[in-house]
Amino acid sequence: MVKKLLCLFFAVGFVLAQSTVGFAEEASVAAQAMFTVNNTWMLVATFLVFIMHLGFATLEAGLTQAKNTVNILFKNTSIIAIGLLTYAICGFNLMYPGDFSIGQFFGFSGFGIASPEGAAGLIEYADGNYTYWTDFLFQAMFAATAATIVSGAVAERIKLSSFLIFTTIYVGLVYPIVGSWKWGGGWLDQMGFYDFAGSTLVHSVGGWAALVGVILLGPRLGKYFKGGIRPILGHNLPLVTIGVFLLWLGWFGFNGGSVLSADPGLVSLVFVTTSLAAAAGIIGAMITSWIAQKKPDLTMILNGCLAGLVGITAGADTVTVCSAAIIGGIAGVIVVFSVIFFDRIKIDDPVGAISVHLVCGIWGTLAVGIFSTNPDHSFMTQLIGVAAYGAFCLASAFAIFGGLKAVMGIRVTEIEERQGLDISEHGMEAYGGFQIFTTQ
């Protein structure tokens, strides 16, 4: 009997042992599958953010004159290259320093990027959410965005070389340093400041620099004359529309990827809040434009769409879908008045970048303090964050642009501006063969 029992027992034990081994293996297959899907989603988000750079390029090109198109495209193509390389050289390690060396304000973990060996750079790197390389590239795509925002606002008059130097410094140093304050775990993070995907950290950071650039450059020739404003028409509105749709597309990665995993509940919620905010931004701007201007303005509803997207970016995972629509709708209203306002005070921003990215970036950040479902978020902390970023970015941008202005100048000559930057800076036309009126 006991013998039989023993036999049975060992038989069972054997099966058990076997299955436990197999089971451990399978367990790791499941974890590995989870890791793989998370990482795959982050890579998808990465290429979506990448395509935003094309969106910015076409948006900005379309809203400016045909004679400056080559220049805009050149700038936007350079920015992504400069952004990725500087981020690899120092940006990533400035933004995520691990340890801070100056208070919670500044840290740097060395030049260059290198993945930790083995699992440390893979499944263990971020608790099975993504690898070291994914982390780097996703963040690098974000970095370049900040400079792209500036590009549109200073278009049609900035000197190419000065702009490229500005971009290198701003993307390589300023953006990652202020970024570390929140996403790198710095002082604002510890204070409870919340900025999900970067209404402030990306959009306002770009927006402040745009504002400084526009002020230091002055308006385009012929834009303002005694008492009047002469509009300088964008030359290609289909390009603008392509740009805005690509930006929206990219925002699925920008916000959806900021979940930092493929978490089904969160990512899908973020998709919905993002889309409804964009939609409401369009409707908000449409109604405002139809009433305030006599006829509904395409460029305004396109700006409205972006305004909604920028607005929801700070709180896309922490507000209800209904709040998302409200935040987007208000952003759409704000942006119309803001564009008109800045034009009135002679801040000449050809593409509305300051209104979209700075003004609505601030609105979106503050909106977290109002609409967040998380009681830890407070309006005051949000306000402090906005102010801190504003102060640092304004100061940095003034220093860089101001320095460049003093040393090498930042504006092309009157003749070059009149001729168009395409010919004066690049010796080349964007639309060879087309007959184009250039009476401005």
């Binding site: 509009p231 006599k294 460029t299 119309v336 564009v339 008109i340 034009d343 509305g352």
Partner: protein, 113 residues
Amino acid sequence: MKLIIALIQPYKLSDVKEALRSNDITKMTVTNALGCGQQAGYEEEYRGVIYEVNLLKKVRIEIAVTDEFVQKTIDAIIQGAKTGKIGDGKIFVMDLTDCIRIRTGDRGEEAIG
């Protein structure tokens, strides 16, 4: 010989061409133009700034004809272009001293048609 220059509404171009053809006038040169005349402009608004557009799209037709064709040409243009509304356009007539066909070197009235 005369050179006739007509400025018409763009959408009347095919009517004018047809009217000319039915009068055996088939040669012409057409250019795109912007015109300022009695026809009122309109307002456009770009990103909140209102401005007046008073250079309206027009089509400019040049026709070189011998003297006996002048009136026929003018009549045909009027027939094709007239709607009775402001903006219908104008016709200018000028003297043509000479005319040369590049292909053959023909000169004068011979070269015109």
